[in-house]
């Protein structure tokens, strides 16, 4: 008796027929939707990032009248970090969008094959999956400025003081979320373990165990590792840090990926977490761009942040950097195609030819905030590098010079995994229609 269900569906569809998926876009705006998660279990980490992204674009709109004279419509579509909602958002926005910013690794995986068909570039700064760097395979996907494998390489580089051979005989625990995101660094770290003779002990944390990791930390205590590397997200970070403090694990032997370095996770622990390190591709500090945002957006009452001090947080500033990648790519495309409002294909070109130089960064007031990098047809990540940050009990401070990933060891792996992905999703489109220019 499928009948009545369908009446309902018909009513629903009738109601929608008017305006489904159509966002009123005025003549000259560029629609760059962002799949935000201000609700749900990951909201605490999502909100500062989303605020940073949104405020930077709003600042450009308020100060310069948009990018290249064209306003940017930076609308949010709420997903709650839920892949179903993410796909819904993608479908809803794709008609007019010039870019898709999927935000979770799960949503990225689902959207990635479709963007080839819909011809919309994916911008996944610092997330997504590492082989996306191979532009020959993933023509429409971009994950600047560094990939997870770059991050793993830089962390290993840092903890071995630049000489990976010194890791021989050591024991390194990878405490990771048991989820596609958390498993990302495994292939590379396994390769390193074999190559440099250290022992890698992956300790997965299930999504249900994020807040209570006593079993994992008992195992870590038993293993007596030389280092703990964390690939955590959301509530897992605070859980791990609390447990580490409780079991008196030496914090200076504990290093996290960039998503495990949110000020809010550490503020609660304060001095107890002193010495904890997190790699980050944006450096903290006072930058002119933040003052500009304060003048044009926060003071004007158009920001969603609760307190102006939130602007000093790493995650907020990272959001600003993310939007900068997008707007600079738009500028690059505008210059090349000599148009005002760029379309999705033009933006793809802009992203592929994005060149973030030192001069550009100081011009837009972000000098030292992110490492310069350049993307190309074969390099959709840029691999700019990152800094190690250390928690001093009240805030993160820069603890290293710019670290660079060991590309020689990563690239073959990227090629291999990209080919594997293309094979799994066969027939995967080639780049023939998108010449490299």
């Amino acid at each position: 008796m499928t009948k009545f269900s369908k009446i309902g569906a018909m009513l629903a569809a009738g109601g929608l027929a008017l305006g489904v998926g159509v966002t009123s876009v005025a003549a000259e705006t560029m629609y760059t939707p962002n799949m935000s998660y201000r609700t749900g279990p990951f909201a605490a980490t999502g909100i500062p990032l989303m605020n940073g992204q949104r405020d930077y674009v709003n600042m450009l709109n308020a100060r310069d009248g948009g990018v290249g004279g064209v306003m940017v419509d930076f609308e949010e579509c709420e997903t709650g970090y839920n892949t179903n909602k993410g796909v819904e958002c993608y479908e809803k926005t794709k008609a007019n969008a010039i870019v898709t910013q999927p935000w979770s690794t799960g949503i990225t995986l689902q959207v990635l094959p479709r963007t080839n068909v819909d011809r919309i570039p994916i911008l996944a700064p610092g997330y997504g999956f590492s082989p996306m760097s191979d532009g020959e395979t993933f023509a429409w996907a971009f994950n600047p400025p560094v990939s997870y494998w770059d991050g793993a390489s830089m962390i290993m580089n840092y903890i071995s003081d630049g000489d990976m051979n010194s890791l021989e005989g050591q024991k390194i625990v990878l405490l990771h979320l048991d989820h596609p995101f958390g498993k990302e660094p495994l292939p590379l770290l396994e390769k390193y373990a074999e190559q440099y003779g250290f022992e890698l002990v992956p300790v997965p944390v299930g999504l249900k165990e994020m807040q209570n990791q006593s079993a994992q930390w008992l195992q870590i205590r038993r293993e007596r590792p030389d280092w703990v590397v964390m690939w955590g997200w959301g509530a897992m970070n605070a859980g791990a840090l609390t447990e580490a403090a409780k079991t008196r694990f030496p914090m200076d032997k504990f290093v996290g990926v960039w998503w495990s370095g949110s000020d809010d996770d550490l503020l609660a622990l304060g001095d107890k977490a002193k010495g904890y390190k997190s790699i980050s591709w944006n450096a903290p500090g006072n930058f002119p761009v933040i003052d500009e945002i304060k003048t044009h957006v926060v003071d004007a009452g158009n920001s969603m942040i609760e307190d102006a001090s939130d602007m000093d947080k790493i995650f907020y500033q990272r959001g600003v950097v993310m939007s900068m990648f997008l707007t600079e790519a738009i500028k690059t495309a505008q210059k090349h195609f000599d148009v005002g409002a760029v379309n999705a294909e033009q933006l793809r070109w802009g992203l592929e030819n994005l060149n973030i130089t030192e001069e550009l960064l100081s011009e837009i007031g972000m000098s030292g905030m992110v490492a310069p990098f350049q993307m190309s047809c074969t390099n959709h990540t840029g691999h700019g590098g990152a800094w190690m940050l250390e928690w001093d009990g009240a805030k993160f401070v820069q603890a290293s010079d710019l670290l660079k990933p060991d590309r020689a060891s990563i690239e073959p792996l990227e090629k291999e995994k990209a080919a594997e992905y293309a094979q799994n999703n066969a027939p995967w489109p080639t780049r023939d229609s998108l010449p490299c220019e």
Binding site: K3, S5, T83, R114, G206
Partner: protein, 358 residues
């Protein structure tokens, strides 16, 4: 008036036991089928297919599977998502090991795997019932998701631990993968759901359905009148898991295109259970009504303000949405605790005697 049954005489037992003893029901079904097979495909946008129609059909199918077990045979299960996962992973393995296999055959076979797993986890139902059985099926839920995560062979040692759907053809038409057109996928899912729905309606009206209902209403009495409890319960588990497994495979192959293990975690089980409960336990129609309320309504509410030209923050809308849907669920359960299917049955009864009530 509209639903007047006077004048519709039944002169044989056969006509009295027909699927639609009242003519208007059959007409209504025809209208809906025409809408589903002709009107929607002609009018719906891509978004409507991907966010409304296809998910509603797939969730209805999963809830229908659960309803066989919980609504008809009275065995409470909290492991639905796990069995959906078995179907999805079986279909994935089948289509990667035998790339030549027809996708419909792979779907049908993957149902068999989940049926087998369902029967295995249904064995405790022979000794325990009620809440205790719910806990046992909960164990299957945890175990299966754990297995999807740890057994790398299941996802072909993919680095991300997720399964991805390659492009497959069905008699020359692309039905899965990114290049498949939403209309094709919708038709495929609709056809599968129609076939299974037809089979289930007849199954639940027939010998097995009666057996299950007898077990549900009082298992000791059923045993006394000669019903083999083991057979009744295990067939319920098998049929239910078969349908649920196919729903899981459809979910991944015809809707999402990729899936990670935690998709099949407990929230999905609960969602399916809510659809079945709010739609109406022991009913086939209820699954569709429940799916519309739980799956489609939030999507519609989300796009409503935009359609009406009201600008509202997306996150705020999400909170408002949760509140509205929550309130509606409570309201429906207060108005009619037996679910939406019963609600419709009452409306229909009133319609039959309208405008001259007793």
């Amino acid at each position: 008036m509209l639903y007047r049954t006077s004048g519709q005489f039944k002169t044989s037992y056969e006509s009295d036991q027909a699927l639609f003893p009242v003519k208007q029901d059959a007409w209504l079904l025809m209208v809906i089928l025409v809408a589903a097979y002709v009107v929607f495909p002609l009018t719906a946008s891509e978004f409507t297919f991907k966010a409304l129609l296809v998910p509603v059909l797939i969730y209805s199918l999963a809830a229908m599977g659960l309803n066989i077990l919980t609504g008809f045979a009275g065995q409470l299960s909290l492991g639905t998502a796990g069995f959906m996962g078995v179907g999805a992973y079986a279909c994935y393995k089948l289509t990667t090991i035998f790339p030549e296999m027809n996708v419909l055959v792979a779907l049908a076979l993957s149902g068999l795997f989940s049926a087998a797993v369902g029967v295995a986890f249904g064995l405790p139902s022979l000794r325990i019932k009620g809440f205790y059985l719910a806990i046992a099926t909960l164990a299957s839920q945890f175990f299966l998701v754990w297995l999807f995560e740890k057994w790398a062979w299941l996802y072909n040692y993919n680095a991300s631990g997720a399964i991805e759907v390659r492009t497959m053809e069905f008699f020359g038409i692309v039905v899965t993968g990114p290049t498949a057109s939403p209309v094709t996928q919708y038709y495929f899912v609709l056809a599968v759901v129609t076939i299974i729905c037809f089979a289930m309606i007849n199954l639940t009206r027939g010998r097995y359905g009666r057996m299950w209902k007898a077990v549900r209403d009082m298992d000791i009495a059923a045993e006394l009148v000669g019903i083999n409890l083991m057979r009744a319960k295990l067939t319920a588990f098998a049929v239910s898991s078969y349908v649920v497994g196919i729903a899981g495979a459809l979910l991944v192959f015809f809707w999402k295109g990729a899936a990670e293990p935690n998709l099949f975690d407990i929230p999905l089980s609960f969602q399916i259970l809510f659809i079945a409960i709010i739609g109406g336990l022991g009913s086939i129609l209820g699954n569709f009504l429940g799916a519309i309320l739980i799956v489609a309504l939030p999507v519609v509410l989300n796009v409503l303000p935009e359609t009406l030209g009201i600008s509202i923050n997306s996150a705020t809308m999400e909170h408002v949405n949760d509140m509205i849907v929550g309130a509606l669920i409570i309201m429906f359960l207060i108005v009619e605790p037996h679910g939406l299917a019963r609600f419709w049955a009452l409306i229909r009864e009133k319609l039959i005697i309208w405008p001259y009530p007793h």
